[in-house]
């Protein structure tokens, strides 16, 4: 028997794994499952009837110390669960199923040919998206997405389809679904939206599955951290470095002064409040991951030797490439290549890169360390300060700066970006803005987290629109921003004040006589309405709204956006 297709799922069996391919095809492939353990009595484990083989191997820990591991080969996952509860099991990431698939060269979403139980990996373009059928179906109620909704909204190959759930009939390879719509879909892999913990779409999840070589089913409820750590764990595994389940890493002692110097975030400049014409925004591309790669920042390279010493008391060793930089450099290259080809997948990789820095400082991170985290922010502050100094040297006026981005005004902006890349070794992206509004707090002091600007590609808005605002407020802000886009410069923007006021009164009126959906706001996946007695859960029905709350909200956001006038 011979089948060919993309690996969509893998189901472990007894002495075999069932590979589910696209188009609802499947084939069994004989295999055992590896389990790595530290034990003095491997013969006791071998007594289990489903443990078929055992090899002693020499591995290393992150500090370079030798660790003797026993690799057991098991017939099924039942045995895996039994043994792993009784002996100290390591290398559980990448997941045992992913490791099994990697040995078979049946990587998730890669094209394979299976002939008589033998898997052959078929070569394809590294960046090509697998030809699998994907669907995203959510059920909706009056307040928005709801697992109990009787209507559905489906996205199939980029097309949006709506209808009654009872009429839904769908056959795909991977479906992301909610509520009872899941029962109406015929797919080998169904991912429940309610259980999802990641911010990416189903297409993004396929990309995560591809790059972490982990079946999508195992990522359905995973956080970004799991995908990131899996990528790092693959690097560790290839170097025979043990991946522990718990890493007992203790922060090195510091004096209060040292702590004050090291424990800081990125550099944030307070903006020059007001509207500014003809400015340029200069962004470092993936600044934190790029710094991690450039300075070889990883748990095992920090304070290992003194190849590079810093003012905050930590040093970096360049003798061996760190696990984290190696894992990230590949992701950075892939994201760069996908950016123009497939923005949705590039966005999914961006999420991993964004999490990579935070994970260095996370206490349960397997490849992180607080000193590594502090080094990243130290280099980020230094890099932005270098950029500010260079801008001033070139006669540019620095209007604003947040961690990895600067807004400058002046004629030498092009020269600035090329010199900056040369000086820092990090890619820089520039965007011309016809105008930018930098806002203040209510007390008049500058507020760095909010700005609005008109670029050639449309409006760029930061810190104004949030996902937890009531729908009416979101729509008001959307229209307000659209109105502002009409202005070509600050003086035209000022002349829009009258139209802005008109829009404000239109929405104040709508707040008085709006439909129930206007008042819904979402907090952590739950729809709420502000009623006279406080917020209530909209899923139990609409029970009125507290008008002053909505009126004040609309007035407040108007002041935030137009207040500088």
């Amino acid at each position: 028997m011979r089948v060919e297709g993309y690996v969509v799922d893998a189901i472990p069996g007894d002495g075999y794994v069932t590979l589910v391919l696209d188009g609802h095809k499947a084939a069994n492939v004989r295999t055992t499952f590896p389990l790595y353990a530290i034990t003095q009595k491997p013969e006791r484990v071998m007594e289990h009837p489903d443990v078929v083989d055992h090899v002693e191997e020499v591995w290393r820990d992150l500090d370079g110390r030798e660790v003797r591991l026993h690799r057991f080969e098991l017939r099924n996952f039942r045995a895996y669960r039994y043994v792993s509860r009784r002996v100290r099991t390591v290398n559980q990431l990448p997941t045992p199923l992913s490791q099994t698939l990697a040995r078979l060269r049946a990587f998730p979403f890669k094209k394979v040919r299976i002939t008589e139980g033998k898997v052959e990996l078929l070569q394809e373009d590294e960046l090509a998206f697998p030809q699998v059928k994907l669907a995203s179906v959510s059920t909706v109620d009056w307040y928005g997405p709801s697992r109990w909704g009787s209507e559905y909204v489906a996205v199939l190959d980029g097309k949006v389809v709506r209808g009654k759930v009872k009429d839904l009939k769908l056959k795909v390879d991977v479906a992301e679904c909610s509520g009872i719509s899941c029962d109406k879909i015929d797919a080998p892999v169904k991912l429940r939206m309610e259980e999802r913990r990641s911010p990416v779409s189903v297409r993004g999840l396929v990309e995560w599955s591809l790059l972490s070589r982990t079946p999508i089913r195992e990522l359905a409820q995973a956080t970004i951290g799991k995908v990131l750590t899996t990528n790092e764990a693959w690097v560790a595994l290839s170097r025979k470095i043990v991946v522990w389940d718990v890493v007992p890493r203790v922060e090195k002692p510091k004096t209060l002064t040292q702590l004050k110097g090291a424990d800081k975030g990125g550099l944030v400049l307070f903006p020059k409040v007001g509207c500014h014409d003809q400015v340029v925004q200069v962004d470092f591309s993936s600044m934190y991951p790029s710094l991690i790669v450039k300075y070889n920042i990883s748990a095992e390279t920090v304070d290992a030797c003194e190849d590079l010493t810093t003012e905050i008391g930590h040093s970096i060793c360049f003798r061996e490439r760190g696990i984290v930089p190696e894992a990230l450099s590949w992701l950075l290259k892939r994201r760069e290549a996908l950016r123009s080809l497939d923005p949705e997948r590039a966005e999914a990789i961006k999420w991993i890169l964004v999490a990579s820095f935070g994970y260095l400082g996370y206490r349960n991170s397997r490849f992180g360390r607080i000193e590594a985290y502090e080094l990243v922010t130290y280099f980020a502050r230094r890099t932005l300060r270098t950029a500010i100094d260079l801008a001033r040297e070139l006669g540019l006026e620095v209007l604003h700066g947040i961690v990895d981005s600067l807004i400058v005004r002046g004629s030498d902006a092009d020269q600035f970006s090329s010199k900056l890349t040369e000086l820092t070794g990090i890619g820089v992206k520039t965007e011309i803005m016809d105008w930018v509004v930098l806002t203040a707090r209510r007390d008049g002091l500058p507020y760095p987290g909010r700005y609005l600007g008109r670029t050639r590609g449309g409006m760029k808005v930061k810190g104004v629109q949030r996902s937890n605002q009531p729908r009416i407020v979101q729509e008001f802000l959307g229209e307000l921003v659209e109105l502002m886009e009409e202005a070509e410069n600050c003086s035209q923007l000022r002349s829009l004040r009258g139209k802005g006021r008109e829009l404000l009164s239109k929405y104040l009126q709508r707040a008085v006589s709006g439909s129930p959906t206007d008042y819904v706001l979402w907090v952590r996946g739950v729809p709420y309405v502000r009623g006279p007695m406080g917020f209530y859960d909209a899923r139990y029905g609409y029970g009125g709204r507290y008008l002053p709350y909505y009126l004040n909200y609309i007035r407040r956001v108007y002041e935030e956006v137009f207040g500088w006038l």
Binding site: K260, K264, G265, G266, L267, I370, R385, P446
Partner: protein, 79 residues
């Protein structure tokens, strides 16, 4: 912005509020006026001092000193 330290901006604001309260209670109108002027430039000093080892209180004093220094130019304060 760090793991353990309080946010610098809110600490600077708190120090400025303490100064204003003290000036109010002591009825030192000149100190209050000086403090209000210092508040106007404190963010600029924060921008310049973010990567240095300075306390929020140091920043407040620097802002006050900078206002005073400007007033001293040309002997303005002596009179």
């Amino acid at each position: 912005m760090g793991r353990t330290q309080a946010p610098l901006t809110s600490m600077v604001d708190r120090e400025m509020q303490i100064l204003l309260r003290v000036a109010d209670r002591a009825r030192l109108i000149s100190l209050k006026e000086l403090s209000l002027e210092a508040i106007g430039r404190i963010r600029e000093l924060q921008n310049a001092a973010y990567d240095e080892l300075l306390d929020p209180r140091d920043l407040v004093f620097l802002a006050l000193l900078s206002v005073l220094a400007e007033r001293c130019e040309g002997g303005g304060v002596r009179g």
